[in-house]
């Protein structure tokens, strides 16, 4: 079948939450444990309906908190089940302790994180302070620009997580409200296509296998702890190849292309913005506008943040003169956001490395408009012409 045909069949209009819930229904995991929280509530609401209607075989565990949700996920995954959950913001924060246990015990849990700001002040709208706070928790993180990508990432996440070279939990991020509650056109796959693509999960160990009894989570002190962490670090490194091969397989099967990054109009670009998730869509409009008036601007959108694709990112950016990395989160280090810090570090040592500036934007759901992206590009073009970087890190989309 031609790629074009593959890309246009089964068109439906769904919100991000509905698409994620639908993906979960089609994956039909063994266990889902979750506690609802805005803006990811819709995911569990719809998945619960599938469960109530007998559309899935899943054991649905409704717990009393997100700490319990992730704990139940860990237990179920250690028992050898294919496990999924969804959360946002404070919910992810409450899972914190157990996130590290999931990755440290090498349990391939898939979590949909519908990005939302963290308190205080309390806020229900989008920024990345929830998932970015968990960036060192040992979870693979994929950031989705669109509803289609959130859906596709869910399917690929299962394969990535369960790959024997990886065995790490995966967090699929999509922007709260902007992506989770907006209806977009997307192309869904059939249940049988998904079944074939994700395959059967064969756990390495299972607590329920009484013929081969194992212990999970035993005390591991000076004599072995660092070796276990070294393995985990290796798994994150191995995940790079697996993410690419799963993406390639997905493309070959269904026609949509997925790698570490999306490059948008980077041919001959003098300056570029690096940005995650839905804000990339806004930035692309600005790129088109500026390209029409002869300005060579481009965009790089990392889809994968953990493992951090530092080689590919620096490769993509090495030809440009100035780069702005836009973070929808502030690390509160007085040195910008995490994407900025890591991108800048990836560029270090490059010959003729571009100037790299960081801008924090859109916290707590503050709008990021095309005009904001245009302003950043104009600033970058000025840096390119003058070589002057006035402020390495700053805020945009904020009232002065």
């Amino acid at each position: 079948m031609a790629v074009e045909e593959k890309n246009t069949r089964c068109q439906v209009g769904l919100t991000g939450n509905s698409a994620v819930a639908y993906a979960m229904k089609q994956i039909n995991p063994d266990v889902v444990a979750a506690y609802p929280i805005t803006p990811s509530t819709g995911v569990m609401e719809e998945f619960s309906s599938y469960h109530a209607d007998g559309k899935v075989d899943t054991e649905l565990i409704t717990v009393e908190s997100e700490h319990s949700a992730m704990s139940a996920c860990v237990g179920a995954a250690a028992a050898g089940a294919r496990v999924m959950t969804a959360t946002s913001s404070q919910g992810l924060a409450l899972m914190w302790e157990v996130l590290y246990i999931a990755s440290g015990m090498r349990l391939p849990i898939v979590l949909a994180c519908v990005n939302r700001a963290l308190s205080a002040p309390i806020n229900i709208h989008c920024d990345h302070s929830d998932s970015m706070g968990a960036r060192d928790s040992g979870w693979i993180q994929l950031y989705s620009e669109t509803v289609q990508e959130a859906y596709d990432n869910m399917l690929q996440a299962v394969r990535i997580a369960e790959h024997p070279d990886v065995l790490l939990p995966v967090m699929i991020c999509l922007d709260g409200f902007i992506t989770s509650h907006a209806i977009e056109n997307l192309c869904t796959l059939s249940d049988s296509e998904i079944k074939e693509f994700i395959g059967q999960y064969k756990p390495r160990h299972s607590l329920l296998d009484t013929d081969n009894p194992v212990t999970f989570g035993a005390l591991t002190l000076q004599d072995n702890y660092i070796e276990i962490k070294r393995q985990q670090s290796q798994a994150m490194d191995m995940a790079k190849d697996v993410i690419l091969s799963v993406g390639k397989d997905f493309e070959d099967s269904f026609g949509r292309e997925y790698g570490f990054l999306e490059s948008y109009r980077m041919e001959g670009a003098d300056v570029a913005i690096v940005i995650l998730s839905s804000a990339a869509g806004t930035t692309k409009v600005a790129v088109d506008e500026l390209r029409r008036s002869g300005k060579n601007v481009g965009l790089v959108r990392p889809r994968v943040f953990r493992p951090f694709p530092y080689k590919e990112l620096s490769e993509e950016l090495k030809g440009v003169k100035a780069v702005a990395v836009l973070d929808r989160v502030d690390s509160m280090s007085s040195f910008g956001g995490p994407l900025f810090v890591e991108t800048r570090s990836a560029m270090y040592g490059l010959e003729n490395a571009p100037a790299v500036i960081g801008r924090v934007f859109g916290l707590g759901g503050r709008d990021y408009r095309v005009a904001d992206a245009v302003d950043v590009f104009e600033l970058l073009l000025n840096i390119k012409d003058t070589g002057n970087v006035d402020k390495v890190v700053d805020y945009i989309t904020v009232r002065e």
Binding site: V214, T215, R230, A235
Partner: protein, 102 residues
């Protein structure tokens, strides 16, 4: 393979995620070295009710032929739970400082 040999393995060879593949391997780990107080049994008083055997968190109370016969000092970590749980009317276990046992 003994637990000691396994400990020397490099990170590429250890079971991933710290999973223990050998059942009952806690037996090879001596918790007796933690002990500050040693339980001492007064055989005269003991009624063999085996409450201490039930309550010991380290399975360090030894029972043979239905009789309480003493403690497995390789694993007894000296918590004193047995001494507390031994019925008030009996109190056949006293905790004595290790120093005094030398």
């Amino acid at each position: 393979m003994s637990e000691k040999e396994e400990k020397k393995k490099g990170w590429k060879d250890l079971p991933i995620g710290g999973v223990l593949l050998i059942p009952g391997s806690a037996h090879d780990y001596s918790t007796g070295g933690w002990r500050k107080f040693r339980p001492i049994l007064d055989e005269e008083k003991c009624t063999d009710c085996k409450i201490c055997w039930v309550m010991c968190p380290d399975s360090a109370v030894k029972v043979e032929d239905g009789k309480m016969v003493g403690f497995d000092l390789e694993h007894c970590k000296g918590c004193g739970i047995c001494a507390v749980e031994c019925p008030d009317k009996v109190k056949a276990i006293t905790m004595v400082e290790e120093e005094e046992n030398k």
